[in-house]
Symmetry: C2
Subunit: 395 residues, 2 copies
């Protein structure tokens, strides 16, 4: 009975089998590189206690009441200021809409731009949960061939000439899943192409502040002259994810529409959480906190890269990410990551097979590893277990 009652979009929205398999990996004896969780020991818990108390004492009833859809103004101001300082953008408070994490920003982007059958260009591979968010609006995906510097521009332009493209979705910094970062040149080339063909760009940047080495590159949004770029980000990786505070930064012609969408979708994001983060940013040294996270994650990146170099067969290729939470492994073409996962779980180690990150292509020999959520020793131990499985299974 039920299927006949539902919208057609629900055919595309299926529970992930891998998610079900990975539920097993929540047992503590399993070393799981499968998640994407930030390290909870780095959450500023004591500071959070302090700001939670202050917000309720200073603006209690206001913080508990309905508030504006756009979000708490002092928080939006802080976000604009920080973005401009770090990523070279020129946005102001009016360009910012607070969302329930950056996932909501992705969902709203689908709602704003996509009619059934519309075409999205994305990196290949791309972020799994962006695919899920967009699928609710029944688009088609075209994967643009991507190397270690970003989308390959000749391929991008060829696809734009062939098809009517609704938007281009990219994660230029420490991409999920590959950990790769777009070069400055590619960023400039992308905006040039987007401008020329007047195609909106969704620039998803949840990890950009977590750079382990080298200088932060300007956001694609910083080169945006026609107001085509929608920049989305979040406090989930730099503060904590439990509060669900993210944002959209876009020109007024788009942000006004996003506000209408937000109004219909959930009125506004938690007033109290917004005020808590704003208060934290006002009272504490957020940059020092981020430096602390970077230091820890850099060590964990080093640990996983060292361990992979030491233990993985030499024909495996993997990313040495300059920031963020993930690395990406390519197995020899003959190996299948899903089958490897079943063997790995037997040895109490887990990862996410790469196929879910390709909306169209069938790529069976890749997987994603997360290194942000466990200490170095556990990373070493986990990679050793995994290397053993790969050798056994691959051999």
């Amino acid at each position: 009975m039920v299927a006949g009652l539902l919208a057609k979009r629900m055919n595309a929205m299926k529970a992930s089998e891998i998610r079900e398999i990975l539920k097993i990996t929540q047992r503590p004896e399993v070393i799981s590189f499968a998640g994407g969780l930030p390290a909870p020991e780095l959450f500023p818990l004591e500071e959070m206690k302090h700001v939670a108390e202050l917000v309720l004492n200073e603006s209690g009833r206001k913080a508990l009441q309905y508030s504006t859809t756009e979000g708490f103004e002092p928080l939006r101001e802080q976000i604009a200021r920080r973005m401009n300082g770090k990523f070279g953008t020129q946005v102001s408070c009016e360009n910012i809409l607070i969302t329930s994490g950056s996932q909501q920003a992705l969902d709203f982007s689908g709602k704003l731009f996509l009619d059934e059958g519309d075409i999205i260009l994305c990196e290949s591979p791309t972020y799994l949960a962006a695919i899920s968010a967009f699928k609710a609006y029944q688009p088609q995906f075209i994967e643009v061939p991507t190397d270690e510097n970003g989308m390959i521009m000749a391929d991008l332009e060829e696809m734009i000439k062939k098809h009517r493209i609704k938007f281009i979705y990219v994660i230029p910094d420490f991409q999920n899943p590959t950990g790769r970062t777009w070069s400055l040149e590619r960023r400039k080339q992308l905006i040039e192409v987007a401008n020329r063909y007047e195609i909106p760009v969704i620039e998803d940047n949840p990890y950009g502040e977590l750079r382990f080495e080298g200088a932060i590159l300007p956001a694609i949004k910083s080169f945006d002259q026609k107001g085509l770029v929608v920049f989305v980000s979040t406090f989930s990786k730099t503060f904590c994810p439990g509060l669900r505070i993210g944002w959209i930064a876009a020109d007024s012609h788009f942000i006004e529409k996003y506000v209408l969408i937000k109004q219909g979708a959930d009125l506004h994001t938690s007033s109290i959480s917004q005020r808590e983060i704003a208060k934290y940013l006002e009272l504490y040294d957020f940059e020092a906190h981020i430096r602390k996270i970077i230091q820890v994650y850099r060590n964990r990146r080093n640990a996983i890269v060292d361990a992979m170099q030491a233990h993985f067969p030499s024909d495996l290729v993997f990313t040495r990410p300059q920031g963020g939470l993930f690395t990406w492994v390519e197995l020899p073409k003959t190996m299948k990551a899903v089958e490897l996962l079943h063997h790995a779980i037997q040895q109490e180690v887990a990862f996410v097979p790469g196929d879910s990150f390709f909306p169209n292509r069938i790529v069976e020999n890749t997987f994603r590893l997360n290194y942000s959520n466990m200490p170095d020793e556990r990373i070493y131990e986990g990679i050793q277990r995994l290397a053993k499985v790969i050798r056994q299974y691959g051999g």
Copy 2:
């Protein structure tokens, strides 16, 4: 340029002119019956401070981390238990999905059920923000003639016979905007019809616990044998709206799909807010708190009804609601509420003209008054001002 880049649905999603007009009414000298805000002096602020501290002390890092899409289990258990006790339902934790307010539950219902052009049956008038939420999915609305006991069943059935109906949307308790409550008989008739034709029912119940007199009537969901009823509610009116905690209660065949939608839309609702409400429910007497709200709102209902009886011209018709936050006024057919509003604002009193609550029909002679958010004296003064405007303008 912009319009050509957007999805077609955005044509139906327009900023409300009335909302713009009403922005003026936020000046403190204006007595505004236009909002729908709960009384902030009733928010359990001290208790909130206590539970906020406890949650961070007892489960700090967990409360700040990503959590499950379905929501915090102890909260879902409490919700199921309370619903069963108050509204005669038989739901359990597994039937509950926590949402970002009940607005998100409405948006998700559109996403779950509606393809472009699908038909929704709703009361006439119906809730403004439900219309906005559903419009994102480009449905058609058919308004079912509605009297003081709910939808008129003969009309409902006639429409079902004529059209393929995707769902029926109703607010059976102290409806927004009319303040009316469905009779027990109509509730049973509705579920009988829904069962016979296998049509889902969205039962929106944000105010049901705020009954001023008489016994709470069983929810339509309580008569649901085929799992067709989706019950949505919220803590916004009984606890506070700023935390954005609402829920969906539905059979597993629907709730599983809602969980997929939530996953793509924003992963999960704030872990910390969910734990705070759960802790509050564990430690405090929520029923006593609700009795306090009822007492205050009952007095305000009495104040507004008394004032309208004393001062409004006798040819005006209005609801004496048995609960909730709103009353509804019908002017003589020759009068237009939008024009009246312009005059009223000059006299520093405001309301929401009724036309926005009718998705199709043009009904110009009605308006909605909210009485939950101001003391009795201000209600009396406001109604006197409004009565004067009506007499001047109508005379």
